[in-house]
């Protein structure tokens, strides 16, 4: 599955446009990590645990995006955007959306 945030892919042409698809996940941090982050708030610096958590959630959201794309019979997702929002005190939502398309290689 080709994922890109451009509207065109080098050397390829869009044969079929399959519409907007999305994948999202809501994740909460566990108490231990939250406690460590609280300590880190005194000293400042990077919160590696959170960085990893956000990364993992983003991968999960992208996996769902790809699932949808496969179900539609797409072979690429173009114009992908990410959005993150805090929905509750301890949880954030990560949303990935894009356009599912069927690409074909341009004959040279």
């Amino acid at each position: 599955m080709l994922i890109s945030n451009l509207e065109i892919v080098p050397g390829m042409r869009v044969r079929r446009h399959l519409g907007l698809i999305q994948g999202s996940t809501v994740r909460a941090k566990h108490v231990g990590k939250d406690f460590m982050a609280g300590l880190k708030n005194i000293f400042g610096g990077e919160l590696t645990g959170y960085t990893e958590l956000m990364n993992e959630s983003r991968e999960a959201a992208m996996a769902r995006l790809q699932e949808q794309a496969t179900a539609l019979g797409a072979n690429a997702i173009l114009n992908v955007r990410f959005a993150t929002s805090t929905i509750a005190a301890g949880a954030s939502e990560i949303l990935v959306y894009g356009t599912a398309v069927e690409l074909e290689r341009m004959g040279v």
């Binding site: 890109s4 080098p10 050397g11 708030n41 000293f43 400042g44 959170y50 983003r58 990410f82 805090t86």
Partner: protein, 157 residues
Amino acid sequence: MMLPYELIILLTLLLLGYVFGRLAERRHYRSIQAREDQYRQLLVLAERHLPPEYVTGHESCLVMGNVVVSVDYFKMMIAALRNLVGGSIGAFESLLDRARREAILRMQEQASALGAGVVFNVKLETCRVSGDASRGVGSVEVMAYGTALYPRANASR
């Protein structure tokens, strides 16, 4: 005369935040500058349209980098004081600047691992990571993403 415990704790926290926060910031800026020099050749563009020379013979791949940074106690205090009179909060500006540059650097790292020379359509996104919602800015996530273009292995085709 004995100082009240609360004041002692507050002053200790402020001092810890000031010392460690300063050290961490200076170290981070040095590392950012070194790595920015290293990736100077890898272009990062906010351009959406590909120039014709990239349209053939290149492959594309989504690359991203993210970082969660946290304020220190001293900065939090400075910002709270700043809120009384208004104006720009330099303490937070440097925090976000560092976070953004770090996120872009991590994205460039991914791109250079692919052998890419350019990253198109770079977008930046900022979000406050929850848990500190009631206490103002606690930790912030910055994410950078874009499409890396690298030469196709059999470009002659």
